[in-house]
């Protein structure tokens, strides 16, 4: 199809649920009230690591209105995505401050809270693992039973008698030899703290567990209903089919609602209350303290280059301070070994990625997981190597950039269909008028004004991190009036997926957009399967599934129409809601006339109910080799780049972003307006990670900033003067209309680009996030006294 002829693809229709959301009609789990519903509250551990000596719940149980009080004894289940390592309620030992130690269900929230306050726990405080080095030393094991934990074999590699939940590696070529032969070797250590997702809607779940059978019904703010069902079934030892998960509107997830969280605890409480529905909605403090975060990470990187700027070798240790349970953390770590060298061709590479258990709140997926973190290391390192070489960092990137015919660190050969990182870098460099670093003299002139401008560039790439067998599906049903209802298994959590799927279905079926509805309130009893709503894979995989379902529907309608017109199916085409004969276009039948079978005048009927079916599986992917990291992990790479122009106040350390340009090779825009929205939102979220965010713990592992008072995310006033989204469209041959995913990517490399621009402005290389006014001002002061 010629893209210029698209009716809906690449256009900017409003989100289909926009009206409901802006008028407040859209109902979330938080809004839901069910007859007889009870309310849950939990007691959390105040200690990072402690033995639970005793728990006395008698006073809590005696409080009128309390229907159940559960402790670890009542919840003998382990749950986990890749490592089965987490108890639903802590038993015998607590592993992080904020871990659930007991839970109450009561007739209202106040009673539940009061009951929690009446639970008496005696702890024996134990020394804990708080730092990456302590985790590696392994004097204390966060999981003393690490050798016995069940895990996904062949993909993750927990190490015996250690705190290493998984050690993944890429080894390609001979780095040591290459370093010896290098003209220059540059080593750096970079760090970034843990960060919170801060969705507008905190986690919430309601469970109704039948006390007389295994059946459990759940309403959740989860991203991945089928994953909730599968993980819960495994944990409880019941059939997946006994669990029903319903997802109404979701107020943002960013990965924090992937996997399984409040659902099993709500289910156990419901079961204990004879099947009354139990609602657990997390407070904002629980969102920070109890529910998972993005891991802190330390990267130690060594790069070898030739005199003319060709990278010959790279060795990196990525160590993830991943908290008490593995959850998504091991998979975050895994991304580093195929993505963590950046969008460059490097002949000799060694990447070690170690996901470490520590006694802190556990970590999970967070928008573009693993990539913002590894790119903080890689893209800062690219600038620092360029500085040492005396080469323009733009040129240095271009010398080493991936492109058709080049090979990734996993051994994948890039083609035209993969997209173009250099197009992205060129576009942003042009947009910010990049002419190279300024000279020290130019800086000096600016310093007199008290403010210094600086520009920076950074590249990025990301592929979905998912199992090689990931699949999804779509079902399209049609009504007698020719309007269709599309069902997918993935969830629109605010990213606009349902609007994109609507456009795709309307385009393929060639019917007006208003005749297509993507069904909201996803339900595992009704919707077709999807693995998880993560990884920026929905447009690609879901989009392909919807295309196939729509084509399947057309094929079925043509078969019936061919009988009516007494012609071969090959003579029929479709358009404007009709199946018609290509040579005799007046011979046509509307979709509505075929929707439920075709009826002749005498009452004879042929055909039947038309239902379109489409499935898509990530075919061709492989697990990565345990020792070398070789394999095919990427269904689709999306390349991108940022360029920033900013100004630093030399006295206060304030950073003011004048312009940030962000280019992505997304193959084909499905909905331009929503993509631009994603880019602006992602860039701003990246600015949060860059400039102000980060969890702070004291030496004992207590989280010091579990509220918005001291966990500062950007506000409206912190939005840059200008955010320039640039959409580059080199199509992917097997993408839906050539499209690639781009939901997560805008956040990646934002800290790096700001760090690089700060070097341009100040001549100072920053190695740690956040780049808040305090850290910048104190660095400037130290720089000038040294």
């Amino acid at each position: 199809m010629d893209k210029r002829q698209y009716k809906y693809i690449g256009k900017s229709p409003d989100r289909s649920e926009a009206l409901e959301k802006v008028t407040g009609r859209a109902a979330y789990v938080h809004d839901m009230e069910l007859p007889g519903m009870l309310y849950a509250k939990a007691l959390h551990s105040p200690y990072a690591r402690a033995k639970i000596v005793s728990i006395d719940v008698s006073a809590a149980k005696a409080l009128p209105g309390v229907k159940a009080v559960l402790t670890g004894e009542d919840a003998p289940y382990l749950v986990g995505l890749y490592m089965i390592d987490k108890r639903i309620i802590a038993k015998d030992i607590v592993r992080y401050q904020g871990e659930v130690v007991a839970a109450v269900a009561a007739t209202d929230e106040r009673i539940a809270e009061e009951a929690v306050s009446l639970i008496k726990v005696e702890y024996e405080v134990l020394p804990s693992v708080q730092t990456i080095d302590e985790a590696l030393e392994a004097k204390i094991l966060v999981h003393e039973d690490i050798n016995d934990l069940e895990y996904m074999k062949g993909v993750f590699f927990p190490q015996k008698d250690s705190n290493i939940a998984s050690w993944n590696k890429t080894v390609r070529g001979d780095v040591e030899k290459a370093f010896e032969e290098s003209y220059l070797v540059v080593e750096n250590e970079m760090y970034l703290p843990a960060a919170a997702h801060t969705p507008l809607e905190t986690h919430a779940a309601i469970a109704e567990a039948d006390p007389y059978s295994d059946r459990i019904k759940i309403w959740s703010s989860a991203q991945s209903p089928f994953a909730v069902r599968q993980l819960m079934a495994k944990s409880f030892g019941i059939a997946e089919s006994d669990i029903q998960v319903i997802i109404p509107y979701v107020g943002g997830g960013f990965g924090g609602k992937a996997g399984i969280h409040l659902e099993p605890l709500s289910a156990l409480l419901s079961k204990a209350c004879k099947g009354r529905p139990v609602k657990y909605k997390a407070t904002r403090e629980e969102e920070f303290n109890q529910l998972p975060t993005r891991a802190a990470m330390r990267g130690r990187i060594k790069t070898g280059v030739t005199k003319d700027g060709k990278i010959t070798a790279m060795k990196v240790y990525y160590d993830w301070d991943s908290g008490a349970y593995a959850d998504y953390g091991v998979n975050v770590g895994k991304t580093a070994i195929y993505s963590g060298a950046g969008a460059y061709e490097i002949p000799n590479v060694e990447i070690h990625s170690r996901t470490l258990y520590t006694n802190k709140v556990f970590s999970t997926a967070y928008r573009g997981f693993g990539h913002l973190e590894t790119h903080w290391v890689i893209e800062r390192q690219m600038d620092m190597v360029a500085q040492k070489l005396g080469i323009d960092p733009y040129d240095f990137r271009m010398i080493n950039i991936l492109g058709p015919g080049k090979t990734t660190v996993s051994g994948e050969v890039i083609t035209e269909s993969t997209g173009s990182p250099s197009d992205c870098l060129k576009a942003v460099a042009r947009e910010i008028n990049w002419t190279g670093y300024q000279s020290e003299e130019e800086r000096e002139i600016q310093r007199k004004t008290g403010k210094v401008r600086g520009k920076g560039l950074a590249l990025l790439h990301k592929a979905p991190a998912m199992p090689a067998f990931t699949s999804t599906a779509s079902i399209i049903q049609i009504d007698g009036d020719g309007k269709v209802k599309v069902m997918i298994g993935a969830i629109d959590i605010g990213q606009g997926a349902n609007t994109a799927m609507r456009q795709i279905a309307a385009e393929v079926l060639d019917i007006p957009l208003e005749n297509v509805e993507v069904v909201w309130e996803s339900d595992t009893q009704k919707n077709p399967y999807d693995w998880q709503t993560v990884a920026s894979k929905l447009t690609f995989m879901g989009g392909n599934a919807v295309i196939k379902a729509a084509e399947d529907m057309i094929k079925q309608m043509k078969e019936v129409a061919a009988q009516v017109f007494r012609c071969d199916v090959s003579k029929l085409s479709h358009g404007d809601g009709y199946i018609y004969h290509v040579h005799h276009p007046h011979k046509k039948l509307s979709y509505g006339n075929l929707a439920r079978g075709y009826s002749y005048e005498n009452g004879n009927a042929i055909g039947g109910v038309i239902i379109g079916r489409g499935t898509y599986i990530a075919d061709g992917l492989t697990n990565l080799d345990k020792e070398t990291g070789e394999g095919l992990p990427a269904l689709v790479w999306t390349y991108g780049a940022h360029g920033v122009d900013l100004e630093v106040d030399l006295e206060t350390g304030d950073v003011h972003i004048l312009k940030i340009a962000s280019a992505f090779d997304l193959g084909q825009a499905i909905n331009k307006k929503m993509i631009e929205g994603q880019i602006m939102g992602g860039v701003l979220q990246g600015i949060g990670s860059a400039l102000s965010e980060g969890l702070k713990f004291n030496a004992e592992g207590k989280l010091l900033n579990p509220t918005f008072t001291d966990y500062k995310i950007p506000s409206a006033k912190d939005i840059p003067d200008e955010i320039v989204p640039i959409l580059i469209e080199n199509p992917q041959a097997d993408g839906p209309f050539g499209a690639r995913g781009v939901g997560e990517h805008p956040m990646i490399s934002v800290p790096s680009v700001i760090g690089n621009a700060l070097y341009d402005a100040l001549g100072i290389n920053f190695h740690k996030l956040p780049l808040n006014p305090e850290n910048i001002a104190l660095a400037i002061a130290a720089h000038h006294t040294s």
Binding site: S117, T652, S692, D710, S715, K717, D718, P773, E774
Partner: protein, 285 residues
């Protein structure tokens, strides 16, 4: 929230002081932007809530030539922000009001509440201090007034006794040509507590007044520093001296999560200098 309380909203000051007298463990509710959070998190507990918003005297917001402003305890921060005459005469107070919390918070929060909560970084404290504001306190024994500079006694502590009720704040009138500025530094540009706050005022006789917030246990008026400045000429060159000198008057917390003492020392100097330059620049403030 574990507190269980009754709620009383009197329409006269008498009834209010009576209620306070009769009921210990009463919390006074005006905007509630501090109190409700504190109760929700069980940081404070109470048995009674006294809502003062319906008391006529506490809704007074008046200016009298020669006497200045009286701002009642029920007046919200946004009401203050929107008062044009106050902005002309006391710019630092309006700027402090503009900086407090978010617009939504300012719709409910009150100036008196901000002062009574006695946070060291209260945005309205430093501006009121440079204007020699007085706090008017009612109790069953009558009404008394105290200077704001004697009001704060420690972090979240004041001279108020359990049965006291602040009815308002008075700010003496200023002469034409009196100027002031309020500067603060926070971690982000949007709603945030300040790490350092400073109010500077210069009267037509060129007398400079300075008060600081968030750099000690209480918001402070720097009388001693003002005396030293009075011995000098107000020139742009004084800025560097002031930036260095003012640091000897502060005592920032060592273990604050919001900022290191080093940064607070640095910024206090920066803002003092910037404030001074703004005030002595004829175009500025």
């Amino acid at each position: 929230m574990l507190s269980k309380f009754d709620y009383y909203k009197p329409v006269s000051l008498e009834k209010a002081t009576e209620y306070l007298n009769e009921n210990s463990e009463t919390k006074i509710l005006a905007g509630g932007t501090d109190l409700l959070i504190s109760l929700q998190k069980n940081k404070e507990r109470c048995k009674h809530i006294l809502d003062i918003k319906a008391i006529p005297e506490l809704n007074r917001f008046t200016y009298t030539e020669g006497r200045g402003y009286f701002i009642g305890a029920a007046i919200t921060v946004n009401q203050i922000s929107e008062e044009k005459l106050l902005r002309e005469k006391y710019p630092a107070i309006s700027q402090g009001a503009d900086a407090l919390g978010s617009y939504q918070v300012r719709n409910r929060a009150t100036m008196v509440g901000n002062i009574c909560n006695a946070s060291p970084g209260a945005d309205l404290a430093a501006p009121l201090l440079v204007y020699d504001a007085k706090v008017h306190i009612a109790s069953s024994e009558g009404i008394r007034a105290t200077d704001l500079c004697d009001f704060f006694t420690g972090v979240k502590k004041t001279i108020l006794k359990p049965k006291d009720l602040v009815i308002g704040i008075s700010i003496p009138d200023v002469e034409r040509g009196d100027r002031s500025v309020y500067l603060r530094k926070s971690r982000i540009k949007g709603a945030d507590l300040c790490n350092v706050a400073i109010a500077l005022r210069i009267n037509p006789e060129n007398k400079l007044s300075i008060a600081l917030g968030a750099v000690s246990t209480i918001p402070m008026r720097l009388f001693e520093l003002e005396r030293k400045i009075a011995e000098r000429e107000l020139t742009p060159e004084l800025g560097d001296w002031l930036a260095a000198e003012i640091k000897t008057y502060i005592n920032p917390r060592r273990d604050s999560i919001r900022s290191s003492p080093e940064y607070r020392y640095l910024i206090t100097g920066v803002l003092a200098k910037r404030g001074l330059l703004k005030l002595i620049d004829k175009e500025g403030a």
